[in-house]
């Protein structure tokens, strides 16, 4: 049985169902990332688990025990917030110590545990400082230390790296999993940054319209998203989605994309005659500035993103496509519009139902 179970949880504010019959099971020691667009109910979800807010219906069970009648402070849950929420009048040490002291842990043990946690998060040299004397990164680490110091069996982290700069964000992205693994914590981590979700999660649970629409390891979500909605949430540039209707042609099944005709792989013959949405990611599209038999398009703009070149292509039928490739090639210093010839690697093609958007 799973260690942490969320069973049919619902919460509405007035008529708006923020969390709507959400269920998910999390194993002991698992790092689960809850990812969704802003306003999808991620923070409410965490608060329901922590007991800071009662659900309208449903339950949370930890290690087989229902939390319905358990007070927040007795749930054995640690939590850290996006805005740190440190006590401004307390030193870093006392902030970190606060969950232990509220449980009347012996002072010698408090000192030992705070120091150990602070060492691991590399803030042992600033324990005497007040929050206002701490850097942004140190505040974040202090808040994390406070959530971990009681060695809770479940740790809830609400977008903790949202407000820190790139350098600290990357440091923490690489360091956090190591620290949490050492504490054998079961973690639910909320973010609206898909890269953070993929980087950190053993599994990523996608929260859309109050429910989990897919929960799977990052590779599976990226390579086999189960709907157009989810496909669009992962990847920068976003996945290209175009309406197509494959038909039998000279060389098997063909479809029309951006004004050109491309043959489908043989195993897609079942799509003939079906209206569907064709999905292809930018990295599976090749762009050449010389005619190479590809679809003639215009290369309208190049916007480098994440050390790759992202190219916006325009088709003669008005379609727009994003392609991307690593930097360091002939396109690096190109500016303005150019003619381009475009090839699609259809071994990585996705097809979705044009009605409900579900993966075919």
């Amino acid at each position: 049985m799973a260690f942490l179970e969320i069973i049919g949880l619902s919460k509405a504010f007035k008529d708006h169902k923020v969390i709507d019959n959400a269920s998910i099971a999390i194993d002991k020691g698992e790092f689960l990332v809850v990812f969704g667009p802003s306003g999808c109910g991620k923070t409410v979800f965490l608060r329901l688990i922590a007991g800071m807010m009662p659900p309208d219906s449903g339950d949370v069970a930890i290690d087989g025990q229902s939390m319905a009648d358990i007070n927040p402070e007795d749930r054995d849950i640690g939590m850290a917030f996006q805005n740190y929420a440190l006590y401004p009048h307390m030193t870093a040490f006392n902030n970190i110590a606060s969950p232990l002291r509220s449980r009347h842990v012996a002072e010698t043990q408090v000192v030992e545990r705070v120091n150990e946690t602070a060492r691991m998060l590399r803030i042992d040299h600033v324990l005497g400082h007040l929050p206002k004397e701490l850097s942004q990164g140190q505040k974040q680490r202090t808040a994390l230390a406070r959530s971990l110091v009681g060695r809770p069996s479940v740790v809830l982290l609400d977008d903790p790296l949202r407000n820190v700069d790139a350098k600290i964000r990357y440091e923490m992205r690489f360091e956090l999993p190591r620290v949490l693994r050492r504490y054998e914590s079961t973690v639910i981590y909320v973010t609206q940054d898909y890269k953070e979700a993929m980087a950190l999660g053993d599994r990523v649970a996608v929260l859309v319209d109050g429910g989990f629409r897919q929960a799977a390891p990052p590779r599976q979500i990226y390579d086999s998203p189960n709907s157009t909605r989810i496909a669009r949430l992962f990847g920068d540039p976003p996945i290209n989605l175009l309406p197509v209707r494959p038909t039998p042609g000279h060389a098997g099944i063909e479809m029309n994309v951006a004004g050109g005709t491309v043959p489908l792989p043989a195993d897609r013959a079942n799509l003939a005659g079906r209206e569907c949405t064709f999905g292809i990611r930018g990295e599976n599209i090749g762009v050449s500035l010389e005619p190479n038999g590809g679809i003639p398009m215009t290369l309208d703009a190049i916007t480098p993103v994440n050390n790759r070149l992202v190219m916006l292509l325009g088709g003669n039928d008005g379609a727009e496509l994003f392609a991307s490739c690593p930097q360091g090639g002939p396109l690096d210093h190109l500016r303005g519009r150019h003619n381009a010839w475009v090839t699609l690697d259809l071994t990585h093609a996705h097809f979705f139902d044009s009605g409900n958007g579900a993966r075919i």
Binding site: P177, D236, P237, R281, G282, T303, V305, N307, R335
Partner: protein
């Protein structure tokens, strides 16, 4: 559609001793897209407001083309602005908000109509043209504000955090469309942003500012590849540059671990600055994660190391791998199919031409010349 010159420009707010902008000198070329990038309070928005005439200039000169604009009123400067706070006219429809500048310039009605249609379609607000600003979302208002600025035929276009409220998918599309438009219209453009992704995506050159001081003004490529100092090196790049404390020991650079022990060595010649690096000098070695080669062949040029994989973040089109190399934490970026399971030992190579050297005390980059460093290795 003209050049924009900041000549030794400073701004001191009355009452404050500190300079919000400190001796900013920067020549923005005709038709160039420049991003002012920095965290809040770095002086980027103040610089923008001084160009528009919304803020007085304490010292120095701002020229738009040949015209000194210090004493000109905002309306005389011919600068189009998209404000971070949108500043739309609530009683006017979206259509009228967008056309406002053209109406004031008495453009022909048919021409206005055509341009509004084009720009609204580009920014995906065609459906909103008959609505009033208070009834549309923040992200939509932001696009209306952008449209109102971009439709104008001004000398300089200034966009303050123009896409901060857009959801990521739309942002990626509009970034590209706007860049296409700005280049096609040859618009001289200043974009203010705190988001390096946006700056790198849009700009021909980026001015990195910190505490009112210009740190570096360069192309996105040069900012990432040749940061002028440690501030820029750690601010720019996703992930940012690896920075290792190090020391010159004879003909070697000793890279130090967290515990200040020698983690590994590289030939001092990689720096191409042999003469300037005296024995015992404290330096910082910088290597971009993208320039570290994972699992290279044997005897690859450069410094060959073996690291233990401590994390592997798979992002779909790339992976970011964390290594422990004898007490040094190294981040490298590889393709999506790099096989680097956590706990495994993996060889990596730092090619000589990827190594950057900074003075540990001042943080300033030590010039490495333009010669390919590979030829300098003894």
């Amino acid at each position: 559609m003209t050049s924009l010159l900041f000549d030794n420009v400073s701004k001191v707010y009355s009452g404050a001793g500190e300079r919000a902008v400190d001796n900013l000198t920067m020549h923005i070329k005709d038709g160039e897209i420049v991003a002012l990038l920095g965290s809040s309070g770095c002086g980027k928005t103040t610089s923008l407001r001084m160009v528009a005439g919304l803020e007085s200039i304490t010292g120095g000169e701002i020229r738009i083309g040949d015209r000194l604009v210090n004493a000109l009123r905002p309306s005389e400067r011919n600068v189009a602005m998209a404000f971070e706070t949108y500043a739309l006219y609530p009683p006017l429809r979206v259509r009228e908000n967008i056309a406002f500048g053209l109406l004031r310039d008495r453009a022909p009605t048919a021409e206005i109509e055509k341009q509004v249609k084009h720009i609204a379609s580009m920014l995906e607000i065609t459906d909103l043209l008959e609505r009033y600003p208070p009834s549309i979302s923040g992200g939509a208002q932001q696009r209306v504000s952008l449209a109102r600025a971009l439709i104008r035929n001004a000398a300089v276009h200034q966009l303050d955090e123009p896409m901060s409220q857009l959801e990521p998918q739309l942002r990626a599309l509009l970034r590209a469309r706007i860049k296409d438009y700005l280049i096609a219209q040859k618009m001289t453009t200043v974009v203010v942003t705190h988001d390096q992704t946006e700056a790198i995506a849009l700009a021909d050159r980026i001015a990195v500012m910190e505490k009112g001081v210009l740190q570096q003004f360069a192309t996105p490529h040069d900012l990432q590849d040749r940061p002028a100092n440690l501030f820029v090196a750690s601010f720019i790049g996703e992930p940012p540059m690896n920075l290792f404390p190090a020391m010159v020991q004879g003909r070697e650079i000793a890279v130090l671990s967290d515990r200040q022990e020698v983690a590994f060595q590289m030939p001092v010649a990689v720096s191409g600055a042999t003469g300037k690096l005296g024995d015992g000098k404290r330096i910082v070695v910088g290597v971009r994660p993208h320039r570290i080669r994972l699992a290279p062949g044997e005897h690859t040029e450069g410094t060959n190391l073996v690291g233990e994989v401590t994390s592997n973040h798979w992002l779909g089109d790339q992976c970011q791998v964390g290594f422990q190399v004898r007490g040094c934490h190294v981040i490298a970026v590889g393709g999506r199919d790099v096989h680097a399971p956590v706990g495994s030992q993996l060889p990596l190579a730092i090619s000589s031409e990827a190594v950057r050297i900074f003075d540990a005390e001042s943080g300033v980059a030590i010039d490495q010349g333009s010669e390919p460093a590979a030829s300098l290795v003894a």
